[in-house]
């Protein structure tokens, strides 16, 4: 039985040339050889000229132009899009350079890859923050385990973890080098070069946010 009973329809613009109809010139294969060589030479001379004149098309902004559009990685890099999720960073408080993180564990809870480990610590007795917020004694991200989903960033109530470094994890040669600890994560700058977050942080007592207070149970 024929597996393909229906004959495939030809495209509307198809031109059928049977072997009998080919002219002797076509049969010699020479016109096409000439045409092929012409195409090769056109590309060769144009590309050589552009290389020699140093005016190769820019691989990103002029990538649809004819010519060589190779990106010579790693010397040349395609800029990542604005919303690219890169390596994590811990944002800092402007006034103290402490991490904004309050060790609420929202990010490590949200993380589907379970790559975030946080050990929360209490502020010492007498500190004004004690009892109101905590701080991360350890904040470790396994960048090899991370799937760069961005859930941690969305889960964070304090805008303390962000993925706006614009860099991907640098390749290392051993796995333990991919375990990024708190100091390293705090050292990464954002795309704007700063270590803070664009979203302002409102401390208790901020007159623009009268409801924020350290008094427990008052709200």
């Amino acid at each position: 039985m024929n597996a393909f009973p229906k004959k495939a329809a030809l495209p509307a613009n198809a031109v059928v040339v049977s072997p009998e109809e080919r002219s002797i010139v076509t049969e010699t294969y020479l016109p096409e050889v000439g045409r092929g060589l012409a195409v090769s030479m056109k590309h060769f001379f144009q590309n050589t000229k552009e290389m020699l004149r140093g005016e190769r098309p820019d691989p990103v902004t002029e990538r649809l132009d004819p010519g060589i559009s190779t990106i010579s990685y790693p010397e040349q890099k395609r800029p990542y899009p604005e919303r690219f999720r890169g390596v994590h960073r811990l944002t800092l408080r402007e006034e103290t350079n402490d991490p904004r993180c309050v060790a609420c564990l929202c990010c490590s809870t949200a993380c589907p890859a379970q790559c975030i480990f946080i050990e929360a610590g209490e502020y010492p007795e007498g500190d004004k923050r004690r009892g109101y917020e905590r701080f991360p004694v350890k904040f470790v991200i396994d960048e090899l385990r991370c799937i760069f989903c961005g859930y941690c960033v969305e889960a964070c109530p304090c805008d303390a973890i962000r993925m706006d470094t614009g860099a991907h994890a640098t390749p290392y040669d051993s796995r333990d080098q991919f375990i990024y600890d708190k100091d390293l994560l705090m050292a990464f700058p954002g795309r704007d070069g700063g270590h803070a977050s664009a979203n302002p942080r409102h401390e208790p007592g901020d007159p623009t946010h009268p409801g924020v207070t350290r008094e427990q149970g008052s709200h």
Binding site: M51, T61, I68
Partner: protein
């Protein structure tokens, strides 16, 4: 010329020819890669680098270092011999495939006969324009009286256009009287290396490749020989330098024997086992054909021999069909533009400059033809094996036989022709020389103006990364991380 000088000159010529061949062989591996990259809109390999210790200088030399890196790699790789292989023949095969290529170039002339005494001469004069006789560093006037206050100077003489001096230096390693026949004899030896390599490897793919190589090369050997018979009849000699001289006085072989040129070119590509006739090493079918089992420098020799074959076939092509060392209108006595019997322009050029120009012309032509072969290699798909045999035996062979027949008739006709017709032929030959000159000039002009024309740019900003790159003024190079 005494024996010592003969030996020195012979060694010098061997050095030039073999040095050129080896360097071109290495260069062609680079040309193959970079030219293919340019054809296919890529950059091509440029990563091999020589770092100068203590500095930040990195030499990449457009990727030429890859050639040296390849050579080093070949030397340090394991020299594997299959356990059941014939060890003697297995080791012999690469040598057998490389040696004929090297021996082949002995007869190829890369310049006209050099009159060593006429390269430069010394003269002396008191009044400018009235040379005196110079003998052992002393000047004599017409009456053989010593002239004390004459100044000795050096000048570059012009030699006559026809007739070379008996003691002249042939610019060919071995200017044999049987030149072309020697080439036929040695070109046939290339088969042996491929066949032995495939047979001794104890590998089915190798054997298939060797069989293909042998039958293909034997088939196209016939065509190569027959296609050049027409040229032999036309030039009336098998001496290669006489052939080149004929082309300089009349017209280039490509105009006199266009069909033979085409047939020879196709057969030469088939003979060098390169695309579109690379059936013996067809990667998709036979891994890499007859040298599948080879590794290390033995593989390197096959690889290198292939590129040197390209260079030698280009040399033969240039010598027989593209005028060898001749440039249009440039003869031994300088630039002479003429049409038939009528001389239009004459400029005497010293012998030494003509010689240098001719030698450079020959090697330049060889490089151009090599580059064209690379274009062919990167443009055409591989033939099927039956198509290859069909082209060889049913198309090219009859065509070359017909070429012999037609050439024979025409040569006989031209010999019996009236003086008027022969003068017409001479004019046609000069017109062909003019055509070549015009074509070269046009290509140079087009090339220069093409280089000066800037590229038409159009910017396409698609996505935020393109916007970011555009804001930075293009995709900039940044320092390497880690």
């Amino acid at each position: 010329m005494n024996l010592v000088f003969q030996l020195i000159f012979a060694l010098l010529k061997i050095l030039i020819m073999v040095g050129f061949l080896f360097n071109v062989g290495a260069l062609l591996t680079w040309v193959d890669r970079r030219q293919s990259a340019m054809i296919q809109d890529r950059i091509g390999p440029n990563r091999a680098v020589i770092k100068i210790p203590g500095t930040k200088i990195e030499i990449r030399a457009l990727g030429l270092i890859h050639t040296a890196a390849d050579g080093l790699k070949f030397f340090f790789k394991e020299d594997f011999i299959p356990p059941n292989a014939d060890k003697l023949l297995f080791g012999l095969a690469p040598i057998l495939s490389m040696a004929p290529v090297l021996a082949l170039i002995a007869v190829i002339p890369f310049g006209d006969v050099v009159d060593l005494g006429a390269l430069w001469k010394f003269g002396c004069e008191v009044v400018p324009g009235h040379p005196l006789t110079l003998d052992h560093g002393q000047c004599f006037d017409e009456a053989h009286k010593l002239v004390a206050n004459a100044s000795i100077f050096r000048y570059w003489p012009v030699v006559p256009r026809f007739g070379s001096p008996p003691g002249g230096l042939d610019l060919a390693v071995a200017p044999l009287g049987i030149g072309l026949l020697y080439i036929f004899a040695l070109a046939g030896q290339g088969i042996i290396g491929a066949a032995i390599a495939g047979w001794s490897s104890d590998n089915k793919f190798s054997l298939m490749g060797a069989l293909r190589a042998a039958s293909q090369m034997v088939s196209y050997e016939v065509t190569i020989g027959l296609s050049l018979v027409g040229a032999m009849m036309l030039y009336g000699t098998v001496r290669l330098d006489d052939m080149v001289r004929w082309q300089g006085e009349n017209c280039w072989g490509i105009f006199a024997q266009p069909l033979a040129f085409f047939i020879f070119f196709v057969a030469a590509v088939a003979e060098t086992k390169r695309i579109p006739f690379d059936l013996p090493e067809a990667e998709s079918e036979l891994v890499s054909g007859y040298f599948t089992e080879y590794s290390g420098m033995k593989f390197g020799m096959f690889y290198f021999a292939e590129y040197m074959e390209v260079a030698t076939s280009s040399m033969i092509l240039v010598t027989i069909f593209l005028g060898g060392w001749q440039l249009p209108f440039i003869h031994r006595d300088g630039l002479t533009i003429s049409l038939g019997e009528m001389s239009i322009f004459h400029l005497a050029v010293p012998h030494i400059w003509v010689t240098i120009l001719q030698v450079l012309t020959f090697f330049g032509k060889v490089l151009v033809v090599c580059s064209f072969q690379a274009f062919v290699r990167w443009s055409l798909p591989r033939f099927r094996y039956d198509q290859l045999m069909k082209i060889g035996w049913r198309v090219l062979l009859p065509l070359s036989l017909a070429n012999i027949f037609v050439t024979g008739c025409l040569v006989l006709g031209a010999q019996q022709a009236s003086d008027g017709l022969q003068a017409g032929l001479k004019i046609a030959a000069d017109v062909s020389q003019g055509l070549v000159a015009a074509l070269i000039t046009a290509l140079v002009i087009v090339g220069v103006f093409g280089m000066l024309k800037p590229r038409k740019k159009s910017t396409w900003l698609v996505g935020s990364s393109a916007n970011a790159a555009f804001a930075r003024g293009g995709t900039k190079e940044t320092a390497m991380q880690a």
